[in-house]
């Protein structure tokens, strides 16, 4: 394997939005390298550019300036069809609001990304069922999102993100809509999947308790990286933060 190529490389990324004629600098020069298999947490107050950064890395928005590489591939240089394939095959998305398709059952939701890769139906269904079992929802295959609790919905979303065995999981505040214990279970699940599959996980969070399990934590403020810390040094900081 190409160990030298990072899973994600962000080079001097700027993003400027036009909001009612005014320029909003959401990102002001982000540089970041994320090796394969890392669990990276991105922290920062709301409005610090977390979601914007996720959109850049996930290829759902383009930077105003700078480049994003996924597995060495420059996202600005590939056509939109290849972009779609990359989103489908290489990246798994997890959202704060779960974003399950309301009319589809848990199993159909998980099978959906496989449709776009042309996986035949019986195979899709089988794999979706396996994935749901692996997140502890083996008995909920035919339930619609509205029939599931928040934590269960997020589990379905995680299973869906894993459907095409992505190299990178992008989780934008996955615990933001969940209570503390459910949220903690979700983060632990993400960590377990990362450990089992060697998937790179990039997870935005507000919650200082959740960062214990990350390998590194990036602190964003006003669209810039304020600080990057390894896990060890971090425990202390977290306590300091909390005593504030």
């Amino acid at each position: 394997m190409e160990k030298s190529v990072p899973a994600v490389k962000v080079v001097d990324v700027h993003k400027i939005y036009q909001l009612r004629g005014e320029e909003v600098h959401a990102l002001r020069g982000i540089n970041l390298e994320i090796p394969h298999g890392e669990y990276l947490s991105v922290m920062g107050p709301s409005g610090s550019g977390k979601t914007t950064l996720f959109n850049m890395v996930g290829g759902i928005d383009r930077p105003t300036k700078g480049r994003v590489f996924i597995d060495g591939v420059d996202l600005s240089k590939i056509p939109s069809k290849s972009m779609a394939w990359l989103r489908c095959r290489k990246i798994g998305y997890i959202f704060q609001t779960f974003n399950l398709i309301p009319v589809l059952t848990a199993q159909e939701n998980v099978a959906l990304p496989m449709i776009f890769l042309g996986v035949p139906k019986p195979e899709r269904e089988k794999k979706a069922a396996e994935l749901l079992r692996s997140v502890g929802l083996g008995d909920r295959l035919d339930h619609r999102p509205t029939e599931l609790s928040g934590g269960q919905q997020q589990r379905v979303a995680i299973a869906r993100a894993l459907a095409n065995d992505p190299a990178i999981i992008l989780a934008d505040e996955p615990t933001g809509n969940l209570d503390l214990n459910t949220g903690f279970a979700i983060v632990q699940l993400l960590y377990r999947l990362k450990a089992e599959r060697g998937t790179t996980v990039i997870c935005a969070t507000h919650d200082l308790k959740m960062i214990d399990i990350s390998d590194r934590v990036v602190f964003l403020r006003d669209g810039m990286i304020e600080n990057i810390e390894r896990r060890r040094a971090l425990t202390l900081t977290a306590e300091e933060f909390e005593s504030d």
């Binding site: 928005d61 069809k81 779609a84 990359l86 489908c88 998305y93 609001t97 974003n99 959906l112 890769l117």
Partner: protein, 207 residues
């Protein structure tokens, strides 16, 4: 600085989303959102029925000896067209807009702009066709029914002119179905295309 320089062995594949899958997705979506789809279809249906009724009157009225001024007939047809057009566009726009987040999500899951358009245009086509065909016949039957009640069947299908009149009715019906399908598809295409091109925005969208 080419991407080759630090290229990995990654080979970029391609997305396959055959029309049959798009069709299946639409049918599922209509089936499972049946009430919502029904409301959209009914609002299309009512607009089209109104249009066909007004158009049919243009044929019926002279036959029963009532000849309203040409300008008045024109005006009625135009108003009918506007009412039905605005109704169809509105209900189609609404039904796609409330699914912005779904569009953003399926873009993340690997849908291309073309797959998003396929899904929503096929759905609009089906609803437009359903609402259009049922609405057109309902409107025609309403016009024929009301006038034959007042003037007898001869007023609606005058002896000797049945074939000509029937052709005219059919023309109105075909016209109405065409309008229905066209407006539904165009009204759905705009928001679907927009959301598909701006997935980040679509994902943030809350109704």
């Amino acid at each position: 600085m080419s991407s080759k320089e630090e290229d990995s062995s990654m080979e970029i594949g391609s997305i396959s989303f055959p029309v049959t899958e798009a069709f299946r997705y639409c049918v599922e979506s209509i089936r499972k959102r049946f009430t919502r789809a029904l409301i959209t279809a009914i609002s299309i249906l009512l607009g089209i029925a109104f249009y066909v009724t007004i158009r049919s009157m243009n044929t019926i009225l002279p036959n029963v000896g009532q000849q309203p001024p040409q300008a008045y007939q024109m005006l009625m047809a135009i108003i009918a067209l506007l009412v039905c057009g605005v109704g169809i566009v509105n209900s189609m726009l609404m039904s796609v807009t409330e699914r912005y987040k779904e569009i953003g999500t399926i873009k993340c899951l690997g849908a291309t702009d073309t797959s998003v358009l396929e899904i929503f245009l096929i759905e609009a086509l089906l609803l437009g066709l359903l609402g259009g065909v049922i609405g057109a016949f309902a409107g025609w039957i309403a016009a024929v029914g009301i006038f034959s009640f007042q003037f007898g069947i001869g007023g609606v299908f005058p002896a000797g002119k049945t074939a000509i009149v029937m052709l005219q009715y059919l023309r109105y019906i075909a016209e109405a179905v065409g309008i229905s399908v066209f407006l539904s598809v165009v009204a759905a295409a705009y928001p679907a295309f927009y959301a598909s091109r701006h997935p980040a925005e679509a994902l943030r969208y809350e109704i």
